[in-house]
């Protein structure tokens, strides 16, 4: 009877293998969470940069307008002479790639036509991959 009894036991090394897997997964998750948190922080820094840049440029544009309307300043002549439409554009940098553009007409005092955000660098998209066939 006693010869039929089976005894199960852990062989040597199994716990070490388990440990290696557990530690590997723990370290992987920890590294992933750090990478994710850092990415969030970088995105947040860009958001701050963009917001501060925009309102900084807007405030400069307001000071420029105040000086212009109070007669302390003359509207800048457009670069390369007057445009065919007779507009003057005044650029206030937001970031390396964006400007706030204040568009004024040629009246006296000049009227504001628009306040826009424009991209100052040319973006060349990679269209070498034929993903969409025309």
């Amino acid at each position: 009877m006693s010869g039929n009894k089976k005894y199960y036991s852990l062989n040597g090394g199994v716990s070490l293998i388990l440990l290696v897997f557990i530690i590997l997964s723990l370290v992987s998750f920890a590294a992933l969470s750090v990478a994710s948190a850092r990415a969030d922080r970088r995105l947040c820094d860009k958001y701050i940069e963009q917001t501060s840049g925009y309102y900084g440029a807007f405030s400069k544009a307001q000071v420029y307008l105040a000086d212009l309307y109070e007669g302390r300043l003359q509207a800048d002549a457009p670069e390369g002479g007057a445009s065919p439409e007779g507009f003057t554009e005044k650029h206030f940098p937001i970031s390396d790639t964006q400007d706030l553009v204040l568009r004024l007409d040629s009246g006296s005092p000049p009227s504001v036509i628009s306040i826009d955000t424009v991209t100052t660098v040319r973006t060349d998209y990679d269209e070498s991959l034929p993903v969409i066939r025309r």
């Binding site: 852990l10 040597g12 070490l16 969470s33 994710s36 922080r41 307001q62 007409d105």
Partner: protein, 197 residues
């Protein structure tokens, strides 16, 4: 018989030694991983706080521009945009009567950035975990013949430990500009019409 027991005993002690080594390395790795998780959690919390602070500051700045630089209107518009409960609205209007600075607003937020309190006096102390201050008493406010350069300084921070998370100064010229005035009532100036064409 004795050899059999010795062999069983050495197997058990080998397993125990292995287990002790495993526990030692597991605790070492555990400490490192917990530190990494805490570090990530700290960065994530900072990023989240900053993000909330910038979003609310941007909201306040747009309210200020929408109110054309009028402090009290800007503060009320900001409270409205924050979905402030009516009791906070009323409390702010009441405190405006006794406030020292015209329209200055101090908002308190809880841990989840929910608005809990609003006060008009900038000398008051924020109650919650975070605060946002709208300060219109800028020294650089410049008066012109036609209007003035209205200044707003928005400050968002933690109450304890006291630290400033984000600061945003905004300027608005309150003088009337013909083209902007025309746009407000839905008309275009001749120059704007030409530009559109």
């Amino acid at each position: 018989m004795a050899g059999k027991y010795r062999s069983k005993g050495s197997k058990t002690s080998l397993f125990l030694i292995e287990l002790i080594i495993s526990v030692f390395f597991f605790s070492l790795a555990g400490v490192v991983c917990v530190r990494l998780f805490l570090y990530a959690s700290g960065i994530s919390r900072d990023a989240s706080d900053l993000s909330h602070a910038v979003r609310i500051a941007q909201n306040a700045a747009e309210s200020f521009l929408g109110a054309e630089g009028a402090p009290e209107e800007a503060s009320l518009l900001f409270l409205y945009s924050m979905d402030a409960p009516s009791e906070i609205y009323t409390a702010y209007e009441d405190s405006l009567r006794t406030g020292k600075e015209p329209g200055s607003l101090l908002l308190s937020f809880d841990k989840e950035w929910n608005l809990t309190e609003a006060a008009a006096d900038t000398g008051a102390k924020a109650q919650g975990s975070y605060y946002v201050l709208l300060d219109y008493s800028g020294d650089d406010t410049e008066r012109y013949a036609e209007g003035e350069l209205s200044m707003l300084r928005i400050e968002a921070g933690r109450t304890s430990p006291a630290s400033v998370l984000y600061e945003l100064p905004v300027t608005y010229y309150t003088g009337q500009c013909p083209a902007l005035q025309a746009q407000e009532i839905g008309e275009d100036t001749p120059a704007a019409e030409d530009a559109r064409k």
